[in-house]
Structures are given as structure tokens and as C-alpha cells.
């Protein structure tokens, strides 16, 4: 019967496809990786910066490696839900995760109830980009530079509010660092996400905001961007100084985004993904797309990345204790 022939043919084909895996053992994995679609989990809602970065990367990896790389959004608990899902997934290289300084260096210091350890439960694969954070002021505050802001804050201690996208975000930590470094007292006004915060900033209900997303408002002149908290200036705002340039060289805030997977991914698969990612990040088209998303490409291999996660988690713990922040 023709149906039987078809079934037999399918069985033979399946066994033939499986044989490299069965015969090869460990090292053959890298040669056959990827042999099925891979999920890149983004622990945030679609449409955000991390989501955009993941999609650009997924497109490039799909083209390079010939298998679909699909973005899966699993948002919740500030990135903890998606991270937890990946931490408990199979470590075969087919479930990856976009991690950020926020989810893996800051969150462990803010939320003591995390169901995973951000260092032990993950395999770092590569650092992708650096995010930019800006300090912006509404025109009604009448400050155009950081020294002016510090003077205004000293004149009215504890009354000037700075909006952020939430507790434990870069903006929050930048604000705390600023207060420690300049010896001033501001008032933190947290919002649920950057959208509502930017709305109030644009309307002037809150005088300051520290976040990355305010760059467009600054470019259009609706607000004044006083400085960026990164090590270099942002290319679209060539006149906006860095915090180091206005007299705070110790003020560096690392807000990176990288690729990781569950702990225990075989080393050769890590190398394969890392190499493909490096090629993707070196592509000028990808670099331009990243710039539109408000980040700058900065590729680091998995060893350097692993060290960075460890040192940043300790650095943020240090800020928490120095600023006397408590999250419960």
C-alpha cells in the first residue's frame, strides 16, 4: 500500500537525520547546531528597546545560521518571569535569553525573592550593546547644565523631583549616584514605565527625568538634556556632556544588554552562538539599527561578559549600601 511505503520512507529519513546526533556525541553538537528553531526569550513586553535589539539580532542569526531564531516575549516582574523560564529550560542552546544590567546586576539587589541566581543559573554568551541614560530637565526648572542643577538643588534641598521608569531602574540608581556624588538631596518619583513618566515630564508636572527614552524629547527641544551618564557622548547630541566631563569622573553607570542561556550549555555551542553574534554586531546595517534603538554596539565574548556580570552585580550592591536604599 502506498501509505505504508510513505510511512516507511519517513521513518528511514528520520533515523538518517538523527544519526549524526546519535553517532557524534558531544562534539558533533556544534557541527549540527542549530538543527531546529531557537527561541530568544525577551523578558519584557514587545515594542521596547530590548525587544527591538532581540529582533535585529534574531534576524541576523537566522540569516547566518540557516535556522529560524524567533523572539518570544515573556514579560513580568521586571524581567524575572522570562529569566526564570530560561533558567529552568534545557541547556541545549535552543532557548536563549536577552539579559540586561537591570535584570542581572540590579534586580538581584532589589528583589530578594528572585527564584534564580543571576550568576549561577545562567551561561553568559556575549555582551551586545551599551544603553544610554540621560538626565533631562523641563524648561520650567530653568537649568541647562549639571552645575546649574546642583545649585538649584542646594537652594531647595529635597524638593526637586526626578522621574524614573520605576524602582531599581538605571534612572533610579543614576539619581542616587548623582545625589551622593554632588552632595545634594533630590526626590525620587517612580512611575510604572517610561511612557507615563515622559508624559508628566513633557507636561512639566515633574521637573527632572533620568532615563534613556527621553532622547527624542531632548532632540526636539521640548526638554533640556543636561548630561549623559555613560562614558562617551551620544552621537545625536554632540553638545551634551558626559557626567565625567562635568566633574564627576567616578560616575559611570553600566547599562548593558547581552545574550545568555541556561547554565550548562556545552562550550562549543556557546562558541558557535558567540561567533555568529560577533559577526552580526560587526555588520554596519545592524550597527545603524542599534543606533536608532538608542544603544551602541559593544561586543564582548563570553568570558569577558561573565566577569562583567559578576563585577557589576557587586558594584550595584555597593551603591545600594552607600545610598542606604531599602526595597521592602
Amino acid at each position: 500500500m502506498p501509505a505504508m511505503k510513505w510511512v516507511r520512507g519517513a521513518a528511514v529519513a528520520t533515523m538518517a537525520a538523527m544519526s549524526p546526533g546519535i553517532a557524534g556525541g558531544g562534539t558533533a553538537y556544534a557541527q549540527t547546531y542549530p538543527s531546529q528553531p531557537t527561541a530568544i526569550v525577551v523578558p519584557f513586553a514587545p515594542g521596547g528597546r530590548v525587544d527591538g535589539i532581540a529582533r535585529v539580532l534574531a534576524k541576523s542569526l537566522s540569516e547566518q545560521l540557516g535556522q529560524p531564531f524567533v523572539v518570544e516575549n515573556r514579560e513580568g516582574a521586571g524581567g524575572a518571569t522570562g529569566s526564570d523560564h530560561v533558567a529552568k529550560s534545557k541547556a541545549d542552546g535552543y532557548t536563549l535569553l536577552l539579559i540586561s544590567a537591570g535584570t542581572h546586576a540590579i534586580q538581584p539587589n532589589v528583589n530578594k525573592d528572585l527564584p534564580y541566581d543571576s550568576i549561577k543559573d545562567f551561561t553568559p554568551i556575549a555582551n551586545l550593546v551599551e544603553g544610554f541614560t540621560f538626565i533631562g530637565a523641563h524648561p520650567s526648572l530653568n537649568v541647562k547644565t549639571i552645575p546649574e542643577l546642583i545649585a538649584a538643588a542646594k537652594a531647595k534641598p529635597g524638593t526637586i523631583g526626578f522621574a524614573t521608569s520605576g524602582i531599581g531602574t538605571y534612572g533610579h540608581f543614576a539619581g542616587e549616584l548623582l545625589q551622593i556624588a554632588a552632595g545634594i538631596k533630590l526626590m525620587h518619583v517612580p512611575y510604572r514605565g517610561s511612557g507615563p513618566a515622559m508624559t508628566d515630564l513633557a507636561a512639566g508636572h515633574v521637573p527632572l527625568m533620568i532615563a534613556g527614552e527621553i532622547v527624542e524629547l531632548g532632540k526636539s527641544g521640548k526638554i533640556n538634556i543636561l548630561a549623559t551618564t555613560n562614558e562617551t557622548r551620544w552621537h545625536e547630541l554632540p553638545d551634551t556632556p558626559t557626567m565625567a566631563e562635568v566633574g564627576f569622573p567616578q560616575f559611570t553607570l553600566n547599562s548593558w544588554i547581552g545574550l545568555a542561556g541556561p547554565a550548562g550549555i556545552p562550550a562549543d555551542i556557546v562558541t558557535a552562538i558567540s561567533a555568529a553574534t560577533e559577526k552580526a554586531m560587526a555588520d554596519p546595517a545592524v550597527q545603524d539599527q542599534m543606533k536608532t534603538l538608542g544603544v551602541v554596539v559593544n561586543f564582548m565574548g563570553h568570558e569577558a561578559f561573565a566577569k562583567r556580570i559578576v563585577s557589576d552585580r557587586a558594584a550595584y550592591a555597593d551603591i545600594v549600601s552607600k545610598a542606604g536604599l531599602s526595597f521592602n
Binding site: 513586553a45 514587545p46 515594542g47 521596547g48 525587544d51 527591538g52 529582533r55 535585529v56 534574531a58 534576524k59 524567533v70 523572539v71 516575549n73 515573556r74 513580568g76 516582574a77 521586571g78 524575572a80 518571569t81 526564570d84 523560564h85 532589589v110 528583589n111 525573592d113 528572585l114 527564584p115 524638593t159 523631583g161 520605576g166 524602582i167 531599581g168 526626590m187 518619583v189 517612580p190 512611575y191 510604572r192 511612557g195 507615563p196 515622559m198 508624559t199 508628566d200 513633557a202 507636561a203 512639566g204 508636572h205 515633574v206 527624542e216 524629547l217 532632540k219 526636539s220 521640548k222 545603524d288 539599527q289 536608532t292 534603538l293 538608542g294 526595597f327 521592602n328
Partner: protein, 499 residues
Amino acid sequence: MDFLSNLQLGFSVAVSLQNLFYCFVGTLVGTLIGVLPGIGPLATMAMLLPMTYYLPTESAIIMLAGIYYGALYGSSTTAILMKVPGESSSVVTCLDGYSMAKQGRAGTALATAALASFFAGTVVTVLIAVASPILTRAAQSFGPAEYFSLMVLGLIAALVFTQGAPLKALAMVFLGLMLGCVGADVNTGANRFTFGVPELRDGLDFVAVSMGLFGLTEVILNLQRRGSDQTTTLPISTLWLTRADFRAAWPAALRGTGVGALLGILPGGGAMLGSFASYAIERKIAPPAANFGNGAIAGVAGPEAANNAGAQASFIPMLSLGIPSNAVMAMLAGAMLLHGIAPSPQLATAKPDLFWGLIASMWIGNAMLLLINLPLVGLWVKLLRVPYDILFPLILLCCCIGMYSVGYSFTDIVTLAGFTLMGVFFTRLDFPMAPLMLAFILGPMMEENLRRAMLLAQGDATQFIVRPVSAGLLAACVVCAVLLAIPSFRKARETATDG
């Protein structure tokens, strides 16, 4: 005139064969997604996003936007047929819409919803084209203090929904407020009432609560009512509106559009507030003959117009300031970013093709949705003729799958079951569910805005009365409260003087 030439540019972009096709695809997919409980426009847009990489930006945004307002048209279908609100703004449609379905007027309700939504969509599209900068500036005058007063007014209006004892509605309002407290606190990051369950850090899921309290509760109550007779169906339905229906519906749609557009430009919860407000207004001004709560057509026309007006108006902050006002707008902003366009205050001047093309396609999308949905009314109505013992497991299955598809979380299913039990318990005791839903949604927003207003004003509580808009809203609260109390005062006085 500048405005006419802009619209001409917009239509020339939107009416290209390619863009018309993608508009149709988006609205069709959106409608189907809206009908399925649980899965919403956001997840669908994320799934279709990779498909848009290879499209020109205008086509991509037109299609994604079509999914959004298509989902609203579709979600009123489940609200009317199964009392399952597809989106938060369809909760009020569940009330009178489902009652109309039980009376055999499901077709009328569906047609009314589609027509009212189309009317609202047309009006707001014109509004966006003409008055976007003015509306934006008006919206910016709403600070945390004004939002707080608006929420208080909304909660007092929740008592207007009472069909029985006001005290029971008040109890439900407080229960809703308590349930809304679950989650992470915005000002301190502390976990409130999460009992160590990490999924509860974001609060109880709206989909679980609404499907449990409305849709699945109704399934269980129906089964209890029918007893042994499982094979009867809902009454056979009319398909269109009578002249009396039209006369009752169109003023409601007009008012709903106004309320929805006004509240929709306020970022954060605009579409939903508009539909609740419209229902409260219609209920207050309806003659007793309209039988509100038991199938008044104004109770469908007004809120449906309001929620579509609100949804389209929520495009305004993103188009004029580059700030997304809800998760769907953030998704659209993300799609624009992937195409190399950063949403900014200068979008209208920097990319007029995209800006005006999107506005023109909003109207075209609404027209397409009307053409898609009106013929489908007959199809949906046929679904009601399926025997209930086959229909209800399908409803149950769709709800569970829809719930699981939101977050792949078993906790959500447990929450769904818990709220179903709660809904059955309270509904059997004649407690109204709508005030609970409203308080559940508005309560957290009210608290957040109160604390933020106090923070920004350095603890000055007089700001709520000194700021004009806030003072006006609070005065309206007082008036509402008095109006609610007067009938009971009069009754008490009458019984006292009668001896």
C-alpha cells in the same frame, strides 16, 4: 487649506493597493483575535512583527494599527454573546449587551456595536487630523492631582451601576480596591499581598479576573438554571435594529463618542474609562422605560462608541509627542524603531507620509471593519443556536486556552478558577460585579496618582481643591454623591411623616 492637503496626502498613501491590502489583513486578523478570549492585540502584533520587516514602514504600521482597533470590534462580540470581555474596555458591553442576547436581540446588539464603533472611529479620525495639537495640550493639563480626582469620580459613578442595594455595590467596590492592591508597590518596590508567588508581583491578571467573574460565572449559572434540560438554546435572534432601536441608540453613540474621545486622550486607561463613563451617563439620563441593566440598547451603543473613540484617541500622544500611552502604542513605536523611525514630537513634519497615511488608514480601517463585521453578525448569531451542552465546553476550552496563552502560567489558570468561584458565589447573592471590576482597575491608578500628587506637592493636600480641573472634578463627585443620597433621604422622610 493646509488640513485638506494633508488629508489628501494621507489618503493617497492609504488608498494604494498594497496599503489597502495590509489594512484589510490587519483588521481581519484583529477581529478574529478580538473574538478569541484571552489572546489580545499585543501578542498578535508581536507575532506578526517579523513579517513587517520586509514591508515599507507605512504598510507595516497600517497593518499593526488595524489589528489593534480590529480587536476592539471583535471583543464586543464575545462580550455580547458569552459575557466574556475581550478587552478591558468591553466590560460594560457585557452588561446590557449580554442581556440583549438573552432576550433574543443578539444580532441587534452586535450590529449596534459595529455601527456605533464606526461612527466614533470616523469622528475621532477627523478630530486627530484637525485638532491633535490642541488635544495634546489639553491632555497635558492633567497632572497626578487631576487624575486622582477623575478616578474618585469614576468610583462614585460605579455606584450608579447598582441594580440593587447601593450597600452591596459599595462592598464590591471595596473588594475591588483590595484586589487591586495585589502586586508590587510603585513607590517602594515592596511585594504587596503576593504571598511569595512571583507571578503576583505584577498584580492579578485582568484577563483572569474578568473571564472568571463574568464569562465562566455565567456558564456555571446557566448550567444551574437549566438543570436537567441541557439541550435548549438561546432564543432566536433578530439581525438588525428597528426604528425605535435607532432612535434610542444614535444619541447614545454621539454622547459616547464625545466622552470616549475626551477621556481617550488622557494617557493610561483612556479607552476603558471612557466606556465606563459613557455607561454611567447613559444610565443616569435614560428613561425608566429603557430598562437599563436588562437590555437597553443605549447601554451598548454609548460604551461601544466610547471605547472605539478612546482607542483611536490614544494614538494622539504618540503621534504628537512620541510618547506611547499604553502597551499597544509602545508596540507600534517599537515597530517604527525597527524601521529606523524614532517616534518624536516632530513626526508630523519629518515623516508626513507615515503620519497622514496612518490617520487616513484609521478611517479606512473602520470602514473595512464595518464591512467585515456586519455580515459576520449573521454567522455569530447562528452560533447561539448550537445546543448549550456542546457550546459551554467550547466556551470553557477557549477561555482556558486563551488564559494560558497570555503568560504560559499555571498560576493564571488557578486565578481564573478562583475568580469563577468568587463570581458564582457573589452573583448568587445578588452582588453586582461591575463595580468590583471598575474598582479593581481604577483603585491602583487612584492610589498611585494620590501618592505621586502628594509627593510632587511636598505633602500639600490643598492642591486637589486649588487646581481648577481637580476642583471641578471633586465638585462633580460631591454632586453625584448627593444625587445618590437624595432619593433615600426623601424615602426615609416620607416613611417618617406617614407615621
